[in-house]
């Protein structure tokens, strides 16, 4: 099923789709673009390259209360949080959905599945938007990411000559387009334009890198690479394939809630145990953990490097200690010199 809509009519479409549940789409917030719930008059921006933060928080929220507790005398009562409501994610670029596929492997395919994540995935209808042109930090070409096609999306969309062409890929996507009714015109005669999107070439040597890293836990590269790291954790915050979380209680002795929230392996307390022992006590160990997880540990379990070349860490790291720097230091020009 293909449909088409003129861009000036999009606010009407937003309004219609938002009746299904919160509609998240790229919204201009001052200097940055973020996925935000649409509301009347929102300054949407479909022409943006990647948003500042990936939309992973739709499935793994920054903060998610999953139970309330009440204590009365010696009794403890546990009250599970309400079911999650349906949502629509509109305008996500393919690389972010390649990353969601990687999170799915951990959160849905690996036993036991994470029901909180799974329900949000199942209750969200996704409209992916193909990329028109990359920004200078995009390097998805290195990771077999096709900027024109998105895996697992319910609807594929493309901006085309002042219109948006939409094609349903799943039943969920079909239902979404049907919801819009007469707002959408028949697009069966339209074709998706073939576009070559050429991203930055950082000369990354990725073939065999996971295998190569198996014996490089003590490599001298790690003694140098971490030195500029400030431990701010922004790389994990903006990374679409980072998924670590914390679980905490908030409340008092009579009642409160238990929630989980994003956490970061770049923080010292992350692995610090009661009694003070810390298996990853310094920045060197933590920087090594993060890059080894992306480049060696995740690939060993799931068969692919946990990076999609979205470029957010290149944009965000205050000291340029991004994954491109790490891959170059580990396997770029230095590999022959080792």
């Amino acid at each position: 099923m293909k449909k088409i809509i003129a861009r000036e009519k999009l606010p009407e479409l937003w309004k219609s789709l938002s009746e299904l549940g919160p509609l998240f789409l790229p919204v201009q917030e001052g200097p940055v673009v973020l996925f935000q719930p649409w509301q009347e008059g929102a300054e949407t921006n479909l022409d943006t390259t990647n948003t500042a933060v990936p939309p992973k928080d739709l499935f793994l929220p920054r903060e998610e209360t999953y139970m309330q507790y009440r204590c009365k005398g010696k009794e403890l009562e546990v009250i599970p949080a309400e079911e999650v409501k349906p949502a629509v994610l509109f305008g996500v670029h393919p690389c972010d959905l390649y990353a969601v596929e990687m999170l799915d492997k951990v959160y849905m395919e690996q036993d036991p599945p994470d029901e909180l994540y799974k329900k949000r995935r199942e209750n969200t209808t996704i409209v992916a938007l193909s990329c028109a042109s990359p920004d200078p930090f995009c390097f998805c070409n290195d990771f077999d990411v096709n900027p024109a096609e998105a895996p697992g999306t319910d609807v594929m969309a493309q901006l085309k000559n002042g219109s948006v062409l939409l094609e349903a890929k799943t039943d969920k996507g079909k239902a979404l387009l049907e919801q819009a009714g007469d707002l959408l015109e028949d697009g069966s005669g339209e074709e998706f334009a073939r576009r070559e999107v050429k991203t930055a070439d950082f000369n990354l040597k990725l073939d065999g890198l996971p295998e190569d890293l198996k014996n490089r836990f003590e490599d001298p590269v790690w003694d140098e690479l971490f030195k500029s790291c400030l431990g701010c954790g922004v790389c994990t915050y903006v990374c679409p394939t980072c998924y670590c979380f914390d679980v905490e209680d908030f409340g008092h002795e009579a009642g409160g809630e238990r929630f989980r929230c994003w956490d970061s392996c770049m923080y010292g307390h992350f692995t610090e145990m009661a009694g003070g022992h810390n298996p990853r006590p310094g920045r060197k160990e933590r920087v090594r953990q993060r890059f080894m997880h992306k480049l060696r540990y995740y690939p060993e379990t799931f068969g692919q490097i946990a990076c999609v070349g979205c470029g957010r860490c290149l944009r965000s790291c205050p000291v340029n200690l991004d994954i491109v720097q790490a891959i170059q230091a580990l396997g770029g020009e230095t590999v022959e010199q080792r």
Partner: protein, 275 residues
């Protein structure tokens, strides 16, 4: 059950509390109807006490005990400290079981050498109880157990009376220094293991204790010609989820909470030494 959020705890009730040492208590815990879940020796459970939070503890009772779960808990952190203040009848949160447990089937037909230090006896005790309940499946059992002082040994009467009376079983106790009234061995656990001169033939050694003790026990076992596949230990890491997702106990390609906490020395040697 697949649609249940695995992070949700169930209610459990404290049956009673035993003060083992000045900083270790054993809690006996029961679910709504008997055991909260079935488990194998070496597996762990997440205990929680709001609003302090959750932490992971090894189950110290044997799965053959159908009455309750037991946890021997040392007061070292926020949650363990809160658990030291519970009273009988109080409800706490529990979820689990987590982890792989000891390879009880692979150990069949072997002689077993248990080496524990201090609170490190807790996970071993679950396996020891299991082996006694399936006595005909296992050969000679030696238990070396030590602590700083006689007052720091846990489950004293059980270790000295019940275990020592089991068939084909020897219990070897040691404390770090001389104490009035102490007539057993004096010396560190690794030294005592060397002195006892265990032979590695058809034997599996299972050890748990403070990291420094484990380090020297492994050296002692190597000198006694135990090979890495004959040595088993169980690791402790900070954990939040217990199901291999939150990232804290990630060690190379494994997650200690689901792929461990029990590893042979051979398996550990293949992982980054970051525990």
């Amino acid at each position: 059950m697949s649609s249940v959020n695995v992070l949700l705890p169930q209610q459990a009730t404290i049956l009673d509390i035993t003060e083992e040492t000045p900083d270790i208590k054993t809690l006996r815990v029961v679910g709504k109807e008997g055991l909260p879940f079935d488990f194998m020796p070496g597996q762990c459970a997440m205990l929680s006490i709001p609003p302090v939070g959750e932490a992971i503890f090894s189950i110290t009772s044997s799965p053959t005990c159908r009455e309750c779960l037991e946890f021997s808990i040392k007061d070292v952190g926020k949650v363990s400290s809160a658990l030291h203040s519970v009273v009988p009848g109080q409800q706490i949160g529990i979820r689990g079981p987590y982890g792989n447990g000891f390879p009880v089937d692979e150990m069949k037909g072997k002689d077993l050498l248990f080496i524990g230090g201090g609170i490190g006896l807790a996970p071993l005790r679950s396996l020891i109880g299991y082996c006694f309940a399936h006595r005909e499946d296992y050969g000679k059992i030696d238990i070396v157990y030590g602590a700083r002082s006689p007052a720091d040994l846990i489950r004293k009467s059980e270790v000295q009376e019940s275990w020592a009376e089991e068939p084909d079983t020897d219990v070897h106790l040691t404390v770090d220094a001389e104490f009035p009234g102490w007539d057993k061995n004096v010396g560190f656990v690794p030294t005592y293991v060397s002195d006892l001169g265990f032979k590695p033939e058809n034997k599996i050694a299972i050890t748990c204790g403070p990291p420094i003790m484990i380090k020297f026990v492994l050296q002692a076992l190597e000198k006694l010609n135990f090979t890495p596949d004959q040595v088993i230990t169980t690791l402790e890491m900070r954990m939040k989820c217990g199901v291999g997702k939150c990232g804290r106990c990630n060690l190379g390609p494994v997650y200690v909470c689901k792929d461990g906490p029990v590893f042979t020395l051979e398996e550990l040697n293949a992982l980054p030494a970051e525990y």
